[in-house]
């Protein structure tokens, strides 16, 4: 395989002005973004940012209260779309009285024509689980393995994972992540992973969707988003932000003693004596999470492409 797995012109997920309520609270307010097909996309944001709501909407398990959302070119939950999407919810709902083998048989029965028993069994083996074990007797991490096996066995085009790895031990987590990446490499599966563990996403995800307070803060290729930001460190003893920064977009600026640390989006050369580096993914995300008021940034590939007439709710 020598081609890139992502297919820049095809769209896995796109939203325009998407709104949703969760427990009488506005969970998503006017979310606009696009995720191209074949990407491994990190969905990042603080607790209550709307990550789980967004995934449940894309899975067709919840309804929006406004705006538009398209999944693999169709409406979420549409009979033509649903078979091509797999969703692993945060609480991994499974039938506790089923054995693992029975759970996979259910997967086969519910996904006629798509089910891949070998893939599902490989994941169960990866988790070092016996097919005869009852789901109810498994630990949280072991249930996660079964839920991922069920999702992979469906051979989805779009895989939606809500905090999938948080309760796995390091070895199993590595195995699951590796299986996920191999699947993405082989079948160009689009994967959207909601996660809090920023270091886990580095190296795995090539696309990023950062949401906070129900809005999209950053969306685009990880590499591109990183390359338009700079971490600037230097000596600064005045109040406020340095005048040299006026030409640039300042995401966040902090002063500790005499040292100023700023995350900026330069609009040209940065004047002054500063140590200037490219931020890591973690630094980029932390900077934006600490500065909810910073201007949002959508990379060109993250701009929705649905026909304008359909933008209206």
């Amino acid at each position: 395989m020598n081609e890139l797995t992502f297919l820049p012109d095809r769209t896995a997920l796109e939203a325009v002005g998407l709104r949703a309520r969760h427990r009488r609270r506005e969970a998503l307010r006017a979310c606009t973004f696009r995720v191209p097909a074949g990407r491994v996309c990190a969905l990042v944001g603080p607790n209550g940012a709307g990550k789980s709501t967004l995934l449940a909407l894309a899975a067709g398990l919840r309804r929006s209260s406004g705006g538009r959302l398209r999944v693999l070119g169709g409406a979420p939950g549409d009979p033509a779309v649903r078979p091509r999407v797999a969703y692993v919810a945060q609480d991994k709902p499974l039938y506790p009285h089923f054995t693992i083998a029975e759970t996979l048989r259910m997967g086969a029965a519910l996904n006629p024509g798509r089910w891949d028993q070998a893939v599902a069994e490989r994941l169960v083996r990866q988790g070092d689980l016996s097919p005869h074990a009852r789901v109810g007797s498994l630990s949280g991490g072991q249930r996660t393995c079964v839920a991922l096996a069920l999702a992979f066995g469906k051979r989805p085009e779009l895989l939606l994972l809500d905090e999938p790895m948080s309760d796995l031990d390091p070895l199993v987590r590595h195995g699951m992540m590796a299986a996920l990446m191999a699947e993405a490499a082989e079948r160009a599966t689009t994967v959207v992973i909601a996660s809090h563990i920023l270091s886990e996403l580095e190296g795995v995800c090539d696309y990023l969707l950062l949401i906070a307070d129900g809005r999209v803060r950053l969306a685009g290729e990880v590499e591109d988003l990183i390359s338009v930001h700079r971490l600037v460190v230097g000596r600064y003893e005045d109040v406020g932000t340095p005048r040299e920064f006026a030409a640039h977009t300042i995401v966040e600026a902090r002063t500790t003693g005499r040292q100023l640390t700023a995350l900026i989006r330069p609009e040209g050369p940065i004047s002054g004596t500063w140590e200037i580096t490219e931020p890591s993914l973690e630094e980029l995300l932390l900077g934006h999470l600490r500065a909810p008021g910073a201007p949002a940034l959508l990379a060109p590939s993250a701009e929705p492409r649905m026909p304008a007439s359909r933008w209206a709710a």
């Binding site: 992540m177 990446m181 191999a182 082989e186």
Partner: protein, 142 residues
């Protein structure tokens, strides 16, 4: 047969694709990889390292551009050129002299860091002060 295995350090600060590029170059220098050898497929690499497959492909494209490997459609990516020099091989006289010198440095009470610092200083004298090529450049105007 898998000829090389990549080690990815997520905390190193070096872009993941560059780590792969450097490790292939190193394997070519040490003769672990020779012309005609097949590099592992993207799927094999990600199944072992749990990194994004596009990262592997980016590294292979970079190596292709440098003329070190070539992609043969449908077959895989193959080594085109060796970076091994006779003088750097495991059984070369130069290596034996260096090993001998290391033994003497250790006997003289130098520890690993002392030796590394000394070697780096002499290296800089002999070859000029040149940091390893890194595409991950930082910029700035004073």
């Amino acid at each position: 047969m898998r000829v090389v295995e990549f080690r990815i350090d997520r905390r190193s600060g070096v872009a993941t694709y560059l780590q792969i590029v450097h490790q292939v170059e190193q394997a070519l220098r040490l003769g672990l990889l020779a012309p005609g050898d097949k590099l592992p497929t993207a799927k094999e690499v990600v199944a072992a390292t749990a990194i994004n497959p596009n990262t592997v492909l980016k590294a292979y494209r970079e190596l292709d551009r440098a003329g070190l490997v070539e992609a043969r459609p449908g077959l895989g990516t193959f080594v085109r050129k060796s970076l091994a020099r006779p003088g750097a091989a495991a059984d070369s006289p130069l290596r034996a002299e260096l090993a001998d010198w290391m033994t003497r440095a250790r006997a003289a009470g130098l520890d690993r860091e002392d030796v590394a610092a000394l070697a780096a200083a002499v290296l800089a004298e002999a070859f000029g002060d040149h940091a390893p090529a890194d595409h991950h450049a930082t910029e700035g105007t004073a």
